[in-house]
């Protein structure tokens, strides 16, 4: 089913024309007094593996709250490192079959910051990276280095990050709508620029 078809279904009321009397009779025959499903922590920022993250941070001498830094601002963070961090988190999340929102909840991190991690853009705090490391069961120091939040000084790590970022770039053929969007973008942007160049 296409996205457009799905959106139609989504907005279509589900009111059944069938006779529901048997179902309703059955549904109300036994108590459904305990039906809660889902997870909600006491507070979003107290969720997840906070204790694990704290232990990890203490063991490895990580940044305290006052030392939280913006990844983009740290010169040690190469683009490849940040991109490899983004890819690593995205692929790990998909391997777990989790949505971004679910991972944020599970790992006890801010949704906006998790998006920033996966897109490689915007501010990311050290604590967020530490919590992700604790949740994904990986070395938080390494993840902090990829985020540019801890000194790397490690050529091997930079090379590994570079190759990982390169190897995980998609080689899938374009979807039809992507192809159409690309062509339209080229028509609108480059054709005009070419015409302007010729005129000049």
């Amino acid at each position: 089913m296409s996205t457009i078809e799905k959106s139609r279904v989504k907005n279509a009321p589900l009111v059944s024309t069938e006779d529901r009397s048997d179902f309703v009779s059955w549904a109300t025959s036994i108590s459904d007094g305990s039906i809660s499903a889902g997870w909600q922590s006491l507070h979003p920022h107290l969720a997840g593996n906070q204790d694990d993250a704290k232990v990890s941070a203490l063991e490895e001498g990580e940044a305290s709250d006052s030392e939280m830094l913006i990844g983009r601002a740290k010169s040690a963070a190469t683009d490849a490192s940040r991109r490899s961090l983004a890819k690593f988190v995205e692929l790990s999340r998909r391997k777990l079959g989790q949505s971004i929102e679910r991972l944020a909840d599970s790992a006890g991190v801010d949704l906006g910051e998790l998006l920033a991690v996966e897109t490689g853009e915007g501010s990311v705090h050290a604590q967020t990276v530490q919590r992700l490391a604790a949740f994904l069961g990986v070395n938080s120091q390494r993840l902090l280095q990829l985020a540019g939040l801890a000194p790397a000084n490690n050529h091997g790590l930079e090379q590994a990050a570079l190759h990982f970022a390169a190897r995980t770039e998609s080689v899938k053929p374009l979807e039809p709508q992507e192809q159409a969007a690309l062509e339209r973008f080229c028509d609108e942007v480059f054709a005009e620029a070419t015409a302007n160049t010729r005129t000049a």
Partner: protein, 215 residues
């Protein structure tokens, strides 16, 4: 928002009560519901304290700390729009919300049978606090049938999306019997990736049986 008349049964006595199933709720409904439910959550806690049941592991309702208002506040309204992935359902009696369901249509897939087929994931479902069974307080819920009718809507939504009725959810421990026995869902055991809550899935076949009221 669309509505359909239905019935619940009131305890004690088992008398039928007119109710309304609501589809395509807005986030505002979640705030309203929590306004109605939060005082009752406090009442339950007060009753547990009065009964000297201080240990939360001794049968406290496991969703007593939930807040649908918080859920609403953290959900982008765009997720409820045409291309969004969230759909909200509720059952109401005389202006009071009796149960709510927060379903998600994208990003989740099957663990049973052929893997990675899409399903509707029930991110949250809860009955109003006055509908809870609370064994340590010898309390039974007031209205019966709200939760299961919401699950019916989730199954119908799954069918409408072409997911053949497949549903997935993570149940709190106290609700496992409901999903296994009443809904006919399969318990795949604790999910280490999601707070060790038990993951349940409803197959296509079980979905059809569920709608025929014979899990």
């Amino acid at each position: 928002m669309s509505e359909q008349a239905t019935k619940l049964k009131e305890q004690p006595g088992g008398g039928e009560v007119a109710a309304v199933i609501h589809d395509l709720l807005t986030l505002e409904a979640l705030f309203t519901a929590e306004e109605q439910w939060c005082l009752k959550r406090i009442t339950v806690l007060r009753e547990l304290a009065a009964a000297s049941i201080h240990d939360a592991r001794a049968g406290w309702p496991q969703s007593i700390h939930w807040s649908w208002a918080r859920k609403a506040a953290t959900c982008s309204p765009s997720r409820l729009e045409a291309f969004g992935d969230v759909r909200l359902f509720g059952v109401e009696v005389a202006g009071q919300w009796q149960a709510l369901l927060y379903g998600v249509s994208e990003g989740y897939s099957t663990h049973l049978g052929a893997k990675n087929r899409p399903l509707v994931y029930v991110d949250f479902i809860e009955a109003a606090p006055w509908n809870w069974d609370i064994p340590p307080l010898n309390k039974v819920g007031r209205y019966r049938g709200a939760g299961i009718q919401l699950m019916e809507l989730a199954v119908r939504w799954s069918m409408a999306l072409g997911y053949d009725g497949r549903i997935g959810l993570h149940a709190l421990a106290q609700a496992k019997t409901f999903y296994a026995n009443r809904c006919g869902m399969q318990d795949l055991g604790p999910d280490a990736a999601y707070h060790n809550l038990s993951y349940f899935e409803l197959t296509e076949t079980s979905a059809k049986t569920f709608l025929r009221s014979r899990p």
